[in-house]
């Protein structure tokens, strides 16, 4: 339930830049910014393409499939709201399309993670307004 969620929600750096990502997540769609000038797909979203500095960018749907680039198992979280969840997996997933994204791995034992193992996106509707992008073994 919305009222019971006590963990931090994303605080956006720039609504104008990244709102489409979070709106898509709420629709259970994963989208990434791509540069219309050099075709570079990048993440995190920003005003200009980090490769060619063009501000001519678009949002494109991606497969939601990727691999575990690296991970850590959190026992002592920075924010105590996560204490009841410990130990849990905080991973970097590399999407098949290239960009990397920080995330949690769900439905996976903490000693069952292998680097480069395939994963797929899971949309976690943590409140009525916010959906977090997480992954599980594919």
């Amino acid at each position: 339930m919305t009222t019971e969620y006590n963990k931090p929600l994303p605080r956006l750096v720039n609504e104008a830049v990244s709102r489409p990502f979070w709106d898509a997540a709420k629709r259970h769609e994963l989208v990434m910014p791509r540069c219309l000038n050099c075709s570079n797909m990048f993440f995190y979203p920003r005003e200009q393409c980090p490769n060619c500095y063009s501000d001519n960018t678009e949002w494109v749907p991606v497969s939601g499939k990727g691999r575990v680039y690296s991970y850590t198992v959190v026992y002592q979280p920075a924010n105590r709201a996560f204490q009841e969840e410990t130990p849990y997996i905080f991973a970097i997933v590399q999407l098949n399309e290239g960009p990397r994204i920080p995330t949690n791995l769900l439905e996976c034992e903490i000693d069952g993670v292998e680097l480069e193992m395939p994963v797929e996106v899971v949309f976690d509707d943590v409140t009525d307004d916010v959906t977090l992008v997480k992954f599980k073994p594919a």
């Binding site: 994303p10 959190v74 905080f90 994204i101 920080p102």
Partner: protein, 372 residues
């Protein structure tokens, strides 16, 4: 070496400046009733006296980029002709030392105070949105800066077969060194490799004894022109080479997380100095977590990439050993008083070269590499 290389070196900082005084406020978990500026002023006072100077002799100041320079100068009671702040996280101390050298070499100041310190009670509450607040915090990152370093660690184990047992040696050897350092927060608290391996996880694969503890403290040094340095009380510590590279703010944005900016910065420092990794007699390397000492030693060229685990198994890196590393215990055993934690690596390198290491003095103390 070509003629061009020699000429290029003569135009650099090589041998132009020297550290002639050092000061350190002992690092403690909390130093009650003291402000960050007050602790900086105390470290400055110690360093100025150590160099045999009066504060009126100081005409340059380099400090924490987050500090207010005017307030810092006011607390220390100086009116420098050159002052600046450096903000490079853990590399701030080593970078500030390099900036001081450049200022002296450029004629902006003759004698520069470099000072950094931390008061945990004094720290401003962080606020505002950031890349971290948008893309990481909702997924529950670990305490401290451990999330990214643990991911480097996990990736290093995957790519090179590095083990937690090997990384425990890094922490245990530094703890051994800290037993000869009364300023270290873990002085009097020995810990073996087995103790490290049985300590609790902050976040796998990082255990608490592989992670720094936030503390209070401060450190300072005095640097002056090489032609003046011989008239000071201590053996001068000449800067022979320096290099920097600024990396990504977020580790997950880095292409290859097991290689650090030290690959570039160390190569530039060695190029300027005319020396190489094989010439160094000891090293003081930034150590917020065990894995960072490990990967940066690789990147500096002391071993091949991926070979740091076997190196620690076969090499005594204590102050008594064949290649001493982090001879004062480093930050892992000395504590991390903000930017002064990394800066202490510069201080300790200078202290050893001056021959003032006391019970932890290394046998060969002419050439040291420091990394921040």
């Amino acid at each position: 070496m070509t003629l061009m290389d020699r000429r290029r070196r003569s135009d650099t900082l090589r041998g132009k400046v020297a550290i002639v005084g050092i000061g350190e406020v002992p690092t403690r978990r909390v130093i009650p009733d003291r402000t960050m500026y007050g602790l900086n002023a105390e470290a400055a006072k110690i360093a100025i006296a150590d160099a045999g100077l009066r504060k009126e002799d100081i005409n340059g100041l380099v400090t924490d980029g987050a500090a207010a320079l005017a307030t810092m100068a006011e607390y220390i009671g100086i009116r420098p002709t050159f002052a600046t702040g450096v903000s490079m996280q853990g590399a701030s101390g080593a970078s500030a030392t390099t900036v001081a050298a450049s200022a002296i070499n450029g004629g902006l100041a003759d004698t520069v105070l470099v000072v950094m310190g931390n008061s945990r009670l004094d720290r401003a509450v962080p606020g505002g949105a950031s890349v971290r607040s948008e893309w990481e915090e909702a997924y529950g990152p670990a305490a401290g800066a451990g999330t990214g370093y643990a991911q480097i660690y996990t990736r290093h184990m995957y790519e090179f077969g590095t083990t937690q047992e090997q990384m425990a040696i890094v922490a245990a050897n530094q703890r051994f060194n800290a037993q000869e350092n009364e300023n270290a927060v873990f002085h009097g608290q020995p810990a073996s490799k087995e103790d490290v391996l049985s300590s609790r996880y902050i976040n796998y694969p990082l255990r608490i004894l592989e992670s720094v503890m936030p503390c209070d403290g401060a450190a300072a040094l005095i640097m002056t022109r090489a032609d003046r340095a011989k008239s000071f009380p201590h053996r001068p510590v000449y800067l022979l080479g320096a290099g920097m590279e600024q990396s990504n703010a977020n580790i997950w944005q880095t292409d290859r997380i097991t290689t650090t900016p030290v690959k570039t910065s160390a190569a530039r420092a060695f190029q300027m100095s005319g020396y190489g990794p094989g010439d160094m007699q000891f090293a003081e390397f930034y150590d917020c977590y065990t894995i960072l000492v490990a990967v940066t030693l690789e990147d500096a060229g002391f071993v091949e990439k991926g070979e740091i685990g076997p190196f620690y198994e076969s090499t005594d890196t204590t102050y008594k050993g064949s290649f001493p590393i982090n001879t004062d215990g480093g930050q892992l055993s000395g504590g991390q008083p903000g930017l002064a934690g990394g800066f202490r690596h510069v201080i300790e390198g200078a202290r050893q070269i001056m021959g003032r290491g006391g019970g932890r003095q290394v046998a060969l103390n002419d050439l040291c590499m420091v990394n921040g």
